[in-house]
């Protein structure tokens, strides 16, 4: 069969089961777009390539599958870099196709030429420049495989224009053979039995679950594990939803803005079981004093995550799901004794921490941002898919919305990129058309990818944006308030657009609440409209997120309300 590179790409996308692509055209990818139009793949025309990658990220997370992006060379490619870096930090499977100048022009500073493979080398799991149409099918297949296997991540494929245009004799690629890539899924049994004996001996254990559990689709196994050993759990930002957030064993999030009880429990526990986590500095605070009383079991599919920041007692390299399944089986054979009795003191202690310093705020005459999130939680019964921007809004979303299921909290954790939430919500809404998708936003962040409102309008997507409008780049202002004697250098946005009118300009609905008593009304109304809606909540300007662990301090030394 004689096919052009562009046609081969379409064949491969079909083979990979791709239904939706996020992209933006340009000269170097006209051939590909020409073929794309002949397929029934749904192409979502974004308004900025960064939005395409965040949308693919949201799509991947909400669907548990892979996101696909197509952009042109040069500026199209460079515009994707922030999105790729975010997906890389959060291990989200995305395949990005970039156009490139024809092979004979590469290296000549040709029009819209950029070495995107060089630029993205440190922020992709892998990347390719396709130099010959004969390699295209194999490379595309490898790209999808690498993106989704092991510890997932973004893979970029750079396709020169002539590679897309050249017609060759096409043979479907054979099975993938990557001699140098072989992720470990099955854990080492000896390590597992060491883990079991630590678990049996522990008096004050804590489980710390992260994004790896969500990525491995191991929530069921985690829940079984925690209940079996009657052990309380905390989670990283990326781990929210890995375990039911309303379960009595749930301690809340750990770390810089973690709950008092989660941080205190981690400080006092004698065994910490980290699952699908990487002990990032926002989690650990001062590493020397992190879980300093505890032996640590660390389960992760990526060996580089283990012993990187925190020395561990029992490292276990493996897929979270496979590992937890085996651990559960091993534990079933063990006599764990009367756990109710054994854990009583520990759980009582945690209960005490819970009651001494719960998450709290006082709602007076100005709307508190926490109140908006709490009301949103109530009205949606915790069932919405929540995306977030970055800053205080993100932390309040994490603290006051409780996630009972995985894949419902979609946030830029590792990179913390403002402008993530709206495009991610668009991606999530496309993946889950029947679900309510809400972007909890800040007034600063929302302006970073606001252009994607047009994408939502064009696709008829009923995404909801809840702006916690404090007039500030709030999280930075909070640092300035607490650590820089209130010198608010460049964090007050003295001018903001009228978000209600802005919504209307984009063909969406705009609503505003300025008083506490309007919050519920606006939320109810906004959530019920089957269109994109921006809800502008004018909130307390100088509210801070608490608890807060100052950067570099031990996580048990929290600033409290």
């Amino acid at each position: 069969m004689k096919l052009t590179g562009a046609q081969i790409l379409m064949e491969m996308l079909k083979e990979e089961g791709v239904k939706t692509i996020f992209g933006f055209p340009g000269g170097a990818v006209i051939d590909i777009y020409d073929e794309l139009a002949k397929t029934d793949i749904h192409h979502v025309l974004v308004r900025h390539e960064q939005g395409a990658v965040h949308a693919a990220d949201g799509y991947a997370r909400a669907s548990g599958g892979v996101g696909v992006v197509l952009v042109t060379s040069g500026p199209g490619a460079t515009n994707t870099v922030t999105g790729i870096a975010s997906a890389y930090m959060d291990s989200i499977p995305i395949v990005i196709f970039t156009g490139q100048v024809p092979t004979q022009l590469i290296g000549n500073d040709a029009f819209q030429e950029v070495d995107i493979v060089g630029i993205t080398r440190p922020c992709t799991k892998h990347n390719y420049l396709v130099k010959d149409t004969n390699d295209l099918a194999r490379i595309v297949k490898e790209a999808f495989y690498i993106a989704q296997s092991g510890r997932p991540g973004p893979v970029l494929v750079d396709i020169p224009k002539n590679v897309a245009a050249t017609r060759i004799d096409y043979k479907p690629p054979k099975k993938i053979q990557l001699r140098s890539y072989n992720p470990t899924y099955k854990p080492n049994m000896r390590q597992l039995s060491k883990a079991v004996s630590l678990i049996k001996d522990a008096k004050k254990p804590v489980i710390f679950a992260g994004g790896g559990v969500v990525l491995a689709k191991a929530s069921k196994e985690l829940t079984e594990f925690a209940r079996k050993i009657k052990t309380p759990l905390t989670g990283s930002l990326m781990g929210l939803g890995a375990f039911p957030g309303t379960d009595p064993l749930w301690l809340g999030m750990i770390g810089m803005h973690g709950t008092y009880r989660a941080n205190m429990s981690t400080g006092a526990c004698d065994l910490l079981i980290g699952i699908g986590v990487r002990f990032d500095d926002r989690v650990t605070g001062k590493t020397d004093e992190f879980a300093s009383q505890a032996k640590i079991i660390h389960i992760d599919i990526d060996p580089t995550s283990i012993q990187k920041n925190i020395p561990v007692t029992v490292p276990i390299v493996g897929d979270c799901k496979a590992t937890l399944e085996l651990l559960n089986k091993l534990l079933d054979k063990e006599d764990l004794g009367d756990l109710n009795e054994k854990r009583k003191q520990w759980l009582d202690q945690i209960e005490e921490w819970k009651s001494t310093n719960p998450l709290a705020y006082v709602q007076k005459d100005i709307i508190k941002p926490q109140f908006v999130v709490e009301k949103l939680y109530e009205l949606t019964k915790g069932k919405a898919i929540i995306t977030t921007e970055v800053g205080q809004n993100q932390m309040w979303a994490a603290q006051y919305y409780h996630f009972d299921k995985p894949n419902h909290f979609i946030t830029s954790g590792g990179l913390g990129v403002m402008g993530f939430g709206l495009p991610a919500a668009i991606g999530a809404q496309l993946a889950c058309p029947k679900k309510l998708v809400v972007d909890i936003a800040g007034d600063g962040s929302i302006q970073m990818n606001i252009q994607e409102m047009a994408t939502a309008a064009q696709c008829g997507l009923p995404v909801k944006v809840v702006i916690l409008n404090n007039g500030y780049l709030g999280m930075v202002r909070q640092w300035q308030e607490l650590f820089y004697e209130k010198r608010y250098s460049q964090t007050c946005m003295e001018y903001a657009p009228d978000f209600v009118k802005l919504a209307e300009a984009y063909g969406a609905v705009g609503l505003r609440a300025t008083k506490p008593e309007e919050v519920e009304k606006v939320l109810k109304k906004g959530l019920s409209i089957p269109k994109a809606v921006i809800m502008d909540f004018v909130v307390e300007k100088e509210e801070c997120v608490y608890p807060m662990v100052p950067a570099g301090a031990p996580i048990t030394k929290m600033l409290l309300v």
Binding site: R121, K125, L129, R179, S180
Partner: protein, 164 residues
């Protein structure tokens, strides 16, 4: 945490960009490269990269794992701590004043190296050896005046009978 020199032997797929993936990894994560050598093996699509790096035990462990994580890296062998041999070659352009020529020749003889170029005012000496040998001859030649030097960086092989 004591910092030590470590020799890593890395087998990689012989593909464009592999070397920049490796050097980028070291640069981006702040690891040291003391020396780096790369050339094809007997398998034309596989190259061997020999890296000498310095770091604490924990950093070296990270480096090895991070290297493994690169898709094009087939194998990483830490030679330090095992039986292995290690060589570097240097070309040394040394001032050769008439009154020093005999002494230089004597040294070349003792160190079993070669003179591969003779000029009016210099010799170029080719020497192969381990770190000690190279630094010994350099310190002896230094007083005579070293004009220029080029070194290959270290290559190394395990002495185990098993082929890795």
């Amino acid at each position: 945490m004591t910092e030590e020199k470590h020799v890593l032997s890395i087998l990689v797929e012989n593909q464009p960009g592999v070397l920049s993936r490796i050097s980028g990894l070291f640069g981006g994560r702040g690891y040291n490269i003391d020396s780096l050598c790369v050339a094809e093996t007997t398998e034309p699509n596989v190259s061997r990269v020999t890296i000498v790096t310095t770091g604490s035990k924990q950093i070296i462990e990270q480096i090895i794992k991070q290297l493994h994580k690169l898709i094009n890296v087939i194998k990483v062998i830490e030679l330090t701590g095992t039986e292995f041999v290690q060589r570097e070659m240097a070309l040394i352009k040394v001032k050769a004043k008439p009154e020093h020529r005999a002494e230089i020749l004597r040294m070349v003889d003792i160190f079993r190296c070669k003179i591969i170029d003779v000029g009016l005012e210099h010799y170029i000496i080719e020497i192969t050896g381990d770190e000690d040998k190279l630094s010994a001859i350099l310190s002896l030649l230094k007083p005579l005046g070293i004009k220029e030097i080029a070194k290959t960086g270290f290559i190394a092989l395990s002495r185990e009978p098993k082929v890795v």
